[in-house]
Symmetry: C2
Subunit: 364 residues, 2 copies
């Protein structure tokens, strides 16, 4: 029992449950009529205030025998402390909705975990949904999150111009994640992909590479992705030959396909920039299968710097997106709009993580 | 506008929103008083039924001009179609709660994505939480999910005997995921780890290995994990020498540490079984850094068969857990308990995916 008590007294990471007052509100007749606090009080022979004390973990206000009686009544009647009634009263569900393309992609896995942490810290839970790269699925999720009255929406859209009509109509704030550029009338965040790609290309040039190709994911949101711009401009500025762009989906498989085409090409580069870790991992596999060595035969730099890239062989030098900072900023823009500044579009800087695949530390 | 319409008419993946009837329920005075359907109706000069038609996407019931007027009223008043009131009425939030140790671990990333799909199919949304391997955090999440009146809980606990007191009290169903063995009074699912390990060890013996060590994650839930039992029993049955167990956390770093100890040991094995892909990836890095070749110097077989293991170098032969089948079964046990059988503990079989790291396909 003492273990149970400790558990019951734990502080909430999702907001102060003690704010809940007695409701005594009875529901309409329905397929599954809700048991009310009043029902529990009647059954246990106590006042509704006593039920509230027990439900809200203030056992010092209630004699142990009474608490036991109330808990027994709760169990027998199947009473659930009423989050929905509370949401009605506060006008808040204390939930945020998140729509991302794919939570099994390490970048989005890390981003959504960081968003959950940031939301929990401010007392909010997270409804996580995957669009699986489909515009139709994304729209369904956005519509449903609106109907569920989330307090805010975080959307990494697969559309260049996502339709937030429902949210705008109802005054629910929304923040677009992973945006390359502003969308008029929306709040959004993104990273400086152009500068990230510049830094990566400059680094490869520093290793004396002059033939630097690009493995580029199909970015549904921008016709020319910032990574592609940064790569192209840097080569031009430095008077180097134009590189080849190998396009494929943002996935291990997409990178593998691109890597196979690259290996088979007549003019093989000495270095490659990949637009994501997942693609770089696929490129690595294609190079290994062809018996090519990284970085000796071909150097490789990627984007994201996920854990997977650290344990790739060789470990990938990569441009890091500041996932935790972005997650915190996105949640604060939703929930504390006054404090987080009123820029429509916030751009985060990137940093290079130097590992083995660029040639800085030769593989053994 | 026609794009917007299409969006509005899309079918819900989370349940039939058309079930919502007019509520006309007014909220208590509160810090953020909720605007009701009646307020919208009054403002737009229509009946609450007309507001419902618009909100519930039955535009064919309403003249376009009226619809425009209602939408304008919704926007001006900041009305949100009332999911919370609906939850009160139906006694259901149409949400499931999920607690896992770490959504950035590829196994749990794939499992939670599959659970979201299975929940969506039945009209439920998913509240995803991470315990980060902490018992205290797990308990807080479980408590909060109970207060939020989810319709069911899916829990991959880091405790051998998770306390589901709150859920049991309120009659909310719960299913334990990733269990090695039954927990009396609970519903749970798991895979046959013993058989999976047997199959893997037999496969390595088939490649003429006799010195087979184990890299084992610290399983907080079972003192001796099924993978360890299966490995040990198979070696004993086949009259082979006892192997060494290298223990470490279920992570890339844990596997890397174990791999470094294994490389430095006086009696180096010719084959290794790793208890997860993340660990195997860490072992691979330690072997690469030591200049050892897989499978020539040391063969390796792992558990999970995640996408990351397919793109490791060399690609990992691995014991696959049937993630999609488990996800579907877990959700059905929560939501259709009558149909999914009444076993307390369901064990799923595993299968071996043959790739390169076992020696079946020599690396180029």
């Amino acid at each position: 029992m003492s273990g149970f008590r400790e558990f019951e007294r734990g502080h909430s990471t999702w907001g102060n449950l003690e704010k809940v007052g007695p409701m005594g509100m009875s529901a309409d007749p329905s397929p599954r009529p809700a048991v009310t606090r009043a029902d529990v009080a009647r059954y246990a022979g106590v006042s509704t205030a006593v039920v509230s004390y027990v439900v809200n973990d203030r056992p010092n206000k209630v004699a142990p025998a009474t608490e036991t009686r109330v808990r027994e009544a709760i169990r027998l009647l199947g009473y659930r402390p009423n989050g929905a009634a509370r949401a009605l009263k506060l006008g808040s569900t204390e939930m945020l909705g998140l729509v991302i393309p794919d939570s099994t992609n390490p970048f989005f896995a890390e981003l959504s975990h960081a968003i959950e942490d940031a939301a929990n810290e401010l007392g909010y839970a997270l409804l996580l949904t995957n669009s699986n790269g489909s515009i139709a699925t994304e729209r369904k999720h956005v519509q449903n999150l609106s109907s569920r009255r989330v307090d805010g929406l975080l959307l990494a859209s697969v559309e260049p111009h996502p339709d937030l009509g429902r949210f705008t109509e109802s005054g629910i704030p929304a923040v677009l994640l992973n945006r390359n550029e502003p969308l008029p009338g929306s709040t959004s965040i993104g990273v400086d992909l152009v500068q990230g790609a510049r830094t990566a290309v400059e680094h490869l040039i520093g290793h004396d590479h002059t033939d630097i190709d690009l493995v580029m994911g199909a970015n549904p949101v921008a016709p020319i992705d910032g990574r592609e711009k940064g790569w192209r401009h840097t080569l031009a500025e430095r008077g180097l030959p134009e590189g080849v762009v190998y396009r494929g989906e943002f996935s291990r498989r997409g990178g593998y396909d691109a890597g196979q085409r690259l290996v088979a090409s007549r003019r093989r580069p000495t270095a490659v920039l990949a637009s994501s870790d997942t693609q770089a991992v696929g490129v690595l596999r294609a190079l290994h299968e062809a018996g090519l060595h990284v970085p000796q035969d071909i150097a490789l730099v990627s984007f994201d710097a996920s854990q997977e890239s650290e344990y790739a062989w060789p470990a990938l030098t990569a441009v890091r997106q500041p996932i935790h900072e972005m997650a915190r900023a996105a949640v604060e823009k939703l929930l504390k709009p006054g404090e987080s500044g009123d820029e429509e579009h916030t751009v985060f800087p990137t940093e290079m993580l130097i590992r083995r695949s660029c040639g800085c530390t030769p593989a053994p």
